[in-house]
């Protein structure tokens, strides 16, 4: 009855072995971090308390993990059932992205043993942006695993379990649309709170909206990126046609994003900084170039089905969104006299986390019903949807 099936095949490949080695290496480094303290592994300091573990693992990691959110919005809110084959793999990537992002926070915390404070009413400060992000990301991690349960149910449970699950799943799907809207914008709000520490080219009251919009566009892009990667790696038929529709949303989102960002700079009288900020101006232009690339490439309709251009657009969008976050959190951030560049240890831990995501993704698609079987690929699917969507089926 399910339209999803495991890929099968050996789990031991060159990719998985490399990923596993990188992961083990990062675990060793983390052991050092927990035995000897943060300074033994990371370059983060009192001036830069957030390093690459926050900027990449949490902020970029969760934005890359917005595929599930973006597709859920499309399929369940805009009721576009044809995108359904893209939902499960996207959810899977989101699940790993968010879980590991949340997990990364633990090793970035100096006094990690107090982590539970933020979840405890007596200790938590409900007026804090950090509180909103922490609670929201934690909830969303749980919601993602629940959203993904149909895969587990199909593998290990019976049809009865799956039916029962369908009756309650809409609540979590709704939450899955609400929560990322909240915390992806809050990741921008965190920087608003930083005030003068962020260079004016990045510091704006629109940061929450800009972060949310770019996160959504990155969500759509990661769907294209992953789908292209999977079809290419496992020699599956191209999904270019269905992905072509997804590119439209990126074009719309990023056009609006650039309009807002530049409009805000003009409104605030900061346009001069675009040229006069030295190295930061360069970063700003690089970001905008990367953001504009998918718009330019995907605006002509004929280009949208071109797999290569799709892939390039998605990669450009992901790099742009990533650079935007790195810039805002690390490059454009500065306290006089303080320096930071991630140490080799920090970089290897981040690489290990990425490797773990890749590894787990491969294991899941090979062993669990995540992808649609090759013969069923196409725009007609029986899908699990929110109840409202079910009536159209």
């Amino acid at each position: 009855m399910s339209k999803h099936a495991p890929l099968g095949g050996s789990l031991i490949t060159r990719t998985t072995v490399i990923a596993a080695v990188l992961f083990v290496l990062s675990m060793v480094l983390l052991a050092v971090r927990f035995l000897k303290g943060l300074g033994a592994v990371a370059n983060i300091n009192n001036g830069y308390p957030w390093g690459i573990w926050v900027a990449y693992d949490v902020v970029i990691g969760t934005a890359f993990a917005c595929g599930g959110y973006a597709m859920a919005l499309l399929v369940y809110i805009l009721n576009k059932g044809k995108y359904h084959p893209l939902v499960r793999p996207a959810l899977l990537a989101s699940m790993f992205g968010y879980s590991l992002g949340g997990f990364s926070v633990i090793f970035d915390l100096g006094r990690y043993w107090n982590f539970w404070h933020i979840m405890t009413p007596g200790y938590a400060n409900p007026n804090s942006v950090m509180f909103e992000v922490a609670l929201c990301v934690a909830c969303y991690c749980v919601v993602l695993w629940i959203e993904f349960t149909p895969s587990f149910a199909e593998k290990w449970g019976g049809p009865a379990l799956k039916r029962r699950l369908n009756n309650v799943l809409f609540v979590f799907i709704a939450l899955g649309c609400l929560l990322p809207t909240m915390h992806q914008s809050s990741l921008g709000t965190l920087l608003v709170v930083f005030g003068q520490l962020i260079h004016p080219l990045w510091q704006t009251r629109l940061l929450p909206l800009l972060f949310l919009m770019s996160a959504l566009a990155m969500g759509f892009s990661i769907v294209i990126f992953e789908a292209t990667l999977v079809t290419s790696a496992y020699k599956r038929p191209s999904e270019a046609r269905i992905l072509a529709f997804v590119t439209r949303y990126i074009v719309v989102l990023m056009s609006a994003y650039l309009l807002l960002r530049w409009g805000d700079l003009a409104y605030e009288g900061k346009l001069g900084l675009v040229f006069s900020s030295g190295g930061l101006s360069l970063m700003f232009w690089l970001e905008n170039l990367l953001f504009a690339t998918p718009i330019v490439l995907m605006l002509p309709k004929a280009n949208r089905v071109n797999e290569r251009l799709q892939f390039l657009s998605a990669v450009s969008m992901l790099l742009g969104g990533g650079l935007y976050r790195i810039d805002a959190y690390l490059v454009a951030y500065g306290r006089p006299g303080w320096h930071y560049f991630p140490s080799v240890g920090e970089l290897l831990v981040t690489l290990g986390i990425i490797a773990l995501e890749v590894l787990a993704y491969i294991v899941f698609v090979k062993r669990l019903p995540v992808l649609h079987p090759v013969h069923a690929a196409g725009p007609t699917h029986a899908v699990e949807r929110a109840p409202a969507a079910l009536t159209t089926e």
Partner: protein, 375 residues
Amino acid sequence: MKDSMLTAIETRLGLSRRSFMQFCAAMAATMGLPKGADAQIAHALVSAKRPPVIWLHFQECTGCTESMLRAEHPTLEKLILDIISLDYHETLFAAAGHQAEAARRASMAANKGKYLLVVEGAIPTKDNGIYCKVGGQTALEMVHECAADAAAIIAIGSCASWGGMPSTSPNPTGATGAPVILKDKSVVTIPGCPPNPYNFLSTVVHYLTFGKLPEVDAKGRPKFAYSRLIHENCERRPHFDAGRFAQEFGDEGHRKGYCLYKLGCKGPETYANCPSILFGDVGSGSWPVGTGHPCIGCTEQGIGFQKPIYELAELKYVLPPVGYPHIVEEQGQGMSAGSAALVAGVGGLAVGAGAMMARNLGKNKKPDDTDFGKE
């Protein structure tokens, strides 16, 4: 301290209790004494029998005494006349002639070993000291006579301390400071022309309170007043460090209050606390450098009255900076060779892999776009 004692001092000095305690606290602060010393000072001033003071004048201008009389917290004539018993002082005593000399000898005999000797002015030594005589007695004889049974000796002013202006080359009278004459005695010197009255007063009050004179340096100067160069605490020092100098009197830099070093200021080689305690109790800027004239180094032997006023000072140990110091500390770890290589390596690998993949994407198949747009 008993209330009755404070009441007694109120009547005796005509001072309010508050003003008296303020004076004691100011004295303690001037000498950098620890907490509680102000109470000790108050106690000593209230209870001790007024120590007799013999104040000698030799080759001098009476500037030191004039300066003393203008000390204002509280009105110093009260303290000089009431806290100490000023038995002999040429400027201030009412008696004259042999009567005055008789009073001095009587006091010395009555207070043998207990009186305080203050010397003001240089002592001429050439031709057996005939160039300065009081009552037929040379300064040389007089200082030896008075010092013999003194409990403590203070040389006030540069003249008494090291010869001062009268000793300036060619020094026709062989003017000499008291410490050289009284080699076998320990003499506390309060150099300056005139010296700051509070440095003298603090020394006296220290003696009254603790029964001994304050700690002194090799030249007999109290360390609380003479251990720092003027240059160290000068209000114009930031201009020195920033390289902003008055080049001549009345130029723009001079009017803007820049450093006076190039006009010959001797602050960099003169030890005194002038910039810290100022003169005349009239507030900020009331000292030579504050008013726009370079320090002439009046407290320092070999500099004051010796070096030309506008000659450049020798920088003792505070040198102009070779570079400006950072306001902020550089902290944290920047890029290392390892991390740069790792980022470049991984980045290169990713770009390479992505490019290879993108190149292969279009090759195998042309996507069927027949139903594109038919949503």
